[in-house]
């Protein structure tokens, strides 16, 4: 497909479980962003990759959150020991121009029970 894809689209986890969210960016896009979005609010920046290098992870809310992009393409956001406050939509975006034009995936809605 031509766009950004994310999987799974929906994830329900029990508190304390680990989850992994996948992002497939647009082919050739060097920049990749992860955001967390609460219902009705604007997305909040989590982390940014340029190719395989994680250049900014200042938005990750705790050390339970970890992101990787080992080959500069697909990225995984991992959340360890999930808590109820982690419930949100997690958006991935890719860009060919360092972020001035970002293309978003549909998001993964995470619900922690």
């Amino acid at each position: 497909g031509a766009g950004v894809s994310q999987s799974p689209r929906y994830k329900v986890a029990k508190r304390g479980q680990d989850v992994a969210l996948r992002c497939d960016p647009i082919s050739g896009h060097v920049s990749l962003f992860w955001y967390q979005q609460a219902l009705g609010q604007g997305p909040e920046f989590l982390t940014y990759f340029q190719n395989e290098a994680q250049l900014d992870k200042s938005g990750l809310p705790s050390d339970r959150f970890f992101a990787e992009r080992p080959e500069g393409s697909v990225s995984t956001l991992k959340i360890q020991r999930t808590q109820q406050e982690d419930s949100a939509v997690y958006l991935c975006a890719s860009s060919s121009d360092r972020g001035y034009t970002q293309y978003f995936g549909p998001g993964t809605r995470l619900t922690v029970l």
Binding site: V4, G42, E44, F45, G99, T101, Y103, F104, G105, G107
Partner: protein, 108 residues
Amino acid sequence: TQLLEQSPQFLSIQEGENLTVYCNSSSVFSSLQWYRQEPGEGPVLLVTVVTGGEVKKLKRLTFQFGDARKDSSLHITAAQPGDTGLYLCAGSSNQFYFGTGTSLTVIP
């Protein structure tokens, strides 16, 4: 922390009315973008403005970037039900910040 404040937060209007959404910050941005997001989908880019004072038009939508590059506005003329959605501004500096969002509902 979201540096960009949008107003109003919620807006419900009748089809055919005009509206303006504001995006304000105390920070200067090298560029500012507007996105529209529908439920269950990611934000879709509408426009990017990069020059202070710049005005861009996209059919019935008019976007303006403030002279000091700290604020922006989105004006919709003759709103239609298809305009319903969450409108987000976003600014680029050394990081990328989204606004707090404006939820627009256009009633037929």
